[in-house]
Subunit: 334 residues, 2 copies
DNA sequence: CTGAAAGCGCTTACAG
DNA sequence: CTGAAAGCGCTTACAG
């Protein structure tokens, strides 16, 4: 492997001059620059990223802290991971996957060893212990989620509260005054995942305001259990004819269970939901829904982190909510 | 951030002594070691991974080369990514996601800048151009897939040929002499993805040997197109009553289409397939199938790469096939 | 505008 | 068994 010294002797200049053309932070005489570039090409030289990282104190890598040993429905998670990696690359950053089951340990280790310049946290909960570990170290980071107290960190997420209001209103406007709200299982709420809490609270508030009865039905996020739960919900003839579904597994299996029971949308049931277009694609979902836009959220999160790494972030951290957009798919009876 | 020098002065020893206790490659007097460890704890010191990488010439990171802008069905890909990351961590390695659309560029860049110690390649094709780039550089790498010519690289994959033989035989043994083979679309074959070719060729060979008619029906891997293709296949009353499905999107939507058309398994159709248990879980698949075992394959791939990084790999590369195991789920009419 | 020197924070022969 | 020195391959003030 050629080093910067080899290039310097080949071009007949000092190492610092080669470095100047490499980093582009200094003006170099065009003729000198041409000689250096020729030497680089001839020796097939590339800068050693580790050495550069040591000298600049920047690794140009971001750490993505994500644990999939938990309550996650993997198709949704994967979409975020891919979108974040793409967005990071656009800004010249690589992504290191930090997947220890213990997120606090992952965060502490990454910060202490300086193997990344900043952190992106997925699956954020209210009073997430990882936030404290990051804030205490004063390390650059961005949250995907909206905890009550971000401790000065940037946070980005879909406006789940706005989404809930829009969806409830959509059903109410169509004349439904009783709605079954198929939501996450109790353990998601117990773990205080922020998206679930924000959606639920806003849905309840909107329903009360609009004079709509909301029947909250927790449903497992485990595929096979969700399947069973849906059968039970839909077999009940007394139940409302309108479904508000916020649970990826439940909405994924809804078409199958509808077919099993011979039910039609919107003739038998109106359905509205919230999911990513990728989930919609993977399960061919035909429902009027707010799209969760993981690509959009991921892009904004990476941009916020990059801005902070450049020293130009808001001093006390900024919260960015992506507006909820409703896509009509004719699954609501008018 | 404390450095090794700070620890040395705190403990009253030389930096090299601190390094000796850190790496554990040298015997240090227990009493000295205790002093060093106390200093480390007091200063909350962690080794700077970049500096260590520069000195040792090992980053302790692996690069995972994967592109999801292609023909992939993302749930399956995600399972591999997670399994590889977990396996790497068990061996003390981190995983850097290398997802450029241009895989050759990704490989070249990673090798040239030395940002990883070794590479793991997903979605390997026959005469994959990435293989040549790696072999030319003599860089440590492992393939997930089985190309005709691995150029000295290690390769790991499920025994897709064995899987195909088992599945065809299962249907033949149950008395089926005509089988519809729902397989990947033409572009998967044109891109020469090794798993598709090996499965198809073995299926055709086994059918010929057993005197079974195999009707090869390509099916899109795009969810919505797969849905339409399945409807067409299953509406044909003249078609065989046995299905061999090797296409994640097709098998994922099979339960839905069966319900739509009022068809039962195995009463109306026998079905056998090949998919990961994770895909089976995400889509609640009820079919007798060979499991593709991404976790097993990922673990073996990481182990092969780690072995090579330790200098103890087979000189000319080794190919490891994971045996195909059939799981019965009563989807074959006897 | 270019170059010599110091420094980033480690590890590893090599003396002692 | 411990320590002083050199080196990993860069970048960045600082002179000239």
């Amino acid at each position: 492997m050629a080093t910067i010294g080899d290039v310097a002797s080949e071009a007949g200049v000092a190492r610092s001059t080669v470095s100047a053309v490499l980093t582009g932070r200094k003006f170099v005489q065009p003729e000198t620059r041409a000689r250096v570039e020729a030497a680089i090409a001839k020796l097939d030289y590339s800068v050693n990223s580790g050495a550069r990282a040591l000298a600049t104190r920047r690794t140009m890598n971001l750490g993505l802290v994500v644990s999939f040993h938990g309550l996650e429905f993997s198709p949704a998670l994967a979409t975020y991971i891919f979108a974040i990696t793409d967005a990071a690359r656009e800004h010249g950053y690589g992504v290191l996957l930090l997947t220890q089951p213990d997120g606090v340990a992952a965060v502490r280790h990454a910060i202490a060893t300086r193997e990344v310049d900043g952190l992106i946290l997925m699956s954020v909960t209210e009073d997430d212990p990882r936030i404290e570990a990051i804030a205490a170290a004063g390390f650059p980071a961005v949250l995907i989620g909206m905890p009550e107290e971000a401790r000065g960190l940037d946070a980005v997420d879909l406006d789940f509260a706005g989404a809930a209001r829009k969806l409830v209103k959509r059903l109410a406007d169509a004349g439904h005054d009783r709605i079954t709200f198929v939501t996450w299982p109790d353990d998601v709420y117990e773990s205080r995942r922020t998206f679930a809490l924000r959606f639920r609270d806003a849905a309840l508030e909107a329903a009360a305001r609009l004079g709509v009865e909301l029947h909250v039905v927790p449903c497992s996020a485990e595929p096979d259990e969700a399947l069973g739960a849906l059968r039970e919900i839909l077999r009940d003839d007394e139940a409302p004819r309108a479904l508000l579904v916020h649970n990826d597994a439940a909405v994924a299996f809804l078409p199958l269970v509808m077919h099993e029971l011979g039910l039609q949308v919107p003739a038998d049931h109106s359905v509205v939901s919230l999911y990513s277009s990728e989930l919609g694609r993977l399960y061919a979902l035909p429902y009027t829904a707010v799209e969760s836009e993981p690509e959009h959220v991921a892009t904004l999160a990476v941009e916020a982190l990059v801005r902070r790494l450049a020293g130009s972030g808001a001093p006390n951290g900024a919260a960015t909510l992506v507006a909820a957009l409703l896509t009509e798919r004719s699954s609501v009876a008018e």
